[in-house]
Symmetry: C2
Subunit: 348 residues, 2 copies
């Protein structure tokens, strides 16, 4: 099959990632890039990558079918809508929009022009997330009670536009949207309430971390925590289920699972801790539990472009649907409202 | 100095602990025990421990100066007040009371009778807690931003009276009061708001676990989590501070500390994870951080009785003050209210 000619708008960090990725793609062919900063276009050309002289010129290139938009969050809407109106399919970096109205205008433009529009939820291909999803879906430890997802760094918020509110900065938009999306891919999309406390340790204007609690209609719960002031990282994933617990300490590690074979034990000896006894907290042994590791699932992030190109060519459903894009954003907006009000808020 | 004659009321799990402890004490001498269950008294006698024939007989023993009460939580008040009215000093197991009114009646009785009354916050001698307190107080990683304290077991709630609401069962009363007390010993006692979600996995009547969020007047925050359905335990303590992070994985382990020496770095290379790049989450190295372990502080839980006997004999302040007892209980009551209402509540 002929590769789909694809252009990238914005040649910063993520734009560069897309370019590198597209150069190796088996479904796309890089047509070129465009960045509003002249020096970024020159850098691209010095690397042998075609740089369009203007965004208008890019849109007028009829050979281009797909445009990937990787520019600051507050600039997405007009660029995306112009591309959709030019009849191009569009992948937009996350978060696509900072308001539901803005997102809906983009979705409308896509539908009006009969083209495809989606967002780059590349972290659906993270092996740690996929391992937790596999454990949850296999039923091997029963129904999930709650999941905790944590990503901890120690560099504060990046010093670029991600630190500025007007550009849609902050860690909720940068990482939150991935971590929320992952959780809902595991637990489903029916979120009832959201409670959020944001950090402002290195930045007063935008959140430089947060702890977000989701309660689903099913009663299942999730904790999503992002930290940029954590010099030691807590475990990446933790999941309690009706018949066991799963843990991933770090994205480089396999999942550990402890499955409960028998609930009751005959003889429980209390554990003596420093300053007291406890029977409740005495550890279990292999008589009542199985302990094992889960090999990391295979994952190829190239499937992101493969699936989207396939959806375009064959009219199939796209991986990241409009409804999912709306729900991910609704939860972020509810999280900000919760943080502001200091109470859990309902997601409608 | 002459040892203080001490009797124990209730010869169950914790009563047995006190008896064992008192038999080795260098400040107390065990006068005997009393339990309402005849077989427990017989068990004591078979072990060479004097068992009083009635509680009245115990109270009439003028040689007894101190009584330790270790019976179900809902029975504390009358037993404690009878002892105080008999002119005995009293140590009562935690939680002393299930309402502030009940606690205040006991405090009043102590003051009216000119005797001492306190509660058994033995976990102030836990070495893991003491290590975190030492790190916080030393200032070696600056002012504390937030602390997380977790205790995870996998046996559900004990099948005795701890599973019954009428007896003051549930994990909040059983463990929560220790974990709250420890946190306030580190962060201070001015709690502003409490948010709590209780678990009911193995028991519908009482909480078999909880996650409790405290916000202090200082802005510092704490997360206290107790689980009885966690087949893998998350780290025991985690503390973020202005210049670093401290972690204790397990009460058998030393604290790990990462201290930030220099905030800025010249060259940060992005980390490539499975499905994306991140500069924000790139780990730091020894150029900007120091990593070290903190030896476990010395701790002797016998100091609990030593200090209280000393307070009685020399009129000094007791370790666990009435104000602290009231605050610990206020937070528990606020936590239950928060769980019921589904919102954070203010502590007055």
């Amino acid at each position: 099959m002929k590769k789909m000619r694809t252009a990238v708008v914005g040649y910063g960090g993520m734009g560069g990632w897309h370019v590198e990725h597209l150069l190796k793609s088996d479904v796309c062919e890089l047509a070129g890039i465009y960045d509003i900063r002249r020096e970024r276009n020159e850098l691209a050309e010095s690397r042998g990558i075609h740089a369009y002289r203007s965004y208008r010129e890019l849109l007028q290139d009829d050979s281009v079918e797909l445009i990937t938009v990787a520019i600051p969050n507050d600039s997405h809407e007009q660029v995306v809508i112009d591309a959709l109106n030019a009849g191009k399919h569009v992948i937009c970096e996350k978060p696509v929009a900072l308001s539901l109205e803005s997102l809906d205008r983009m979705i409308d433009a896509a539908e009006r022009n009969g083209v495809r529009f989606t967002t780059h939820q590349n972290r659906r291909w993270d092996v740690d997330f996929l391992a937790m999803k596999q454990i949850a879906e296999s039923g091997e430890i029963g129904k999930v009670l709650n999941i905790e997802s944590r990503v901890h760094g120690s560099r504060g918020i990046p010093s670029d536009w991600r630190g500025e509110k007007s550009h849609g900065g902050g860690m909720m938009y940068d990482w939150g949207i991935h971590l929320i999306d992952q959780i809902l891919m595991i637990l489903g999309w029916d979120v009832k309430t959201v409670y959020c406390v944001c950090d402002h340790i290195t930045n007063k204007e935008v959140d430089d971390g947060f702890r977000l609690e989701l309660t689903l209609e099913s009663g299942q719960r999730a904790t999503i925590e992002l930290g940029t002031y954590n010099f030691i990282a807590m475990p990446r994933f933790y999941m309690r289920a009706e018949k066991g617990t799963a843990l991933i300490t770090d994205w480089r590690e396999e999942a550990q699972v402890v499955r409960c074979k028998h609930w009751h034990e005959n003889d429980v000896l209390p554990v003596k801790t420093a300053a007291g006894l406890t029977k409740t907290m005495a550890p279990r042994d292999e008589v009542t539990t199985d302990t094992y590791r889960v090999a990391r699932p295979a994952s190829d992030v190239h499937d992101y472009y493969r699936h989207f190109v396939n959806a375009i060519r064959n009219g199939e459903a796209q991986d990241v649907t409009y409804e999912q894009m709306r729900t991910d954003l609704k939860i972020i907006l509810a999280a900000f409202r919760s943080d502001e009000l200091g109470v859990p808020v309902t997601v409608d």
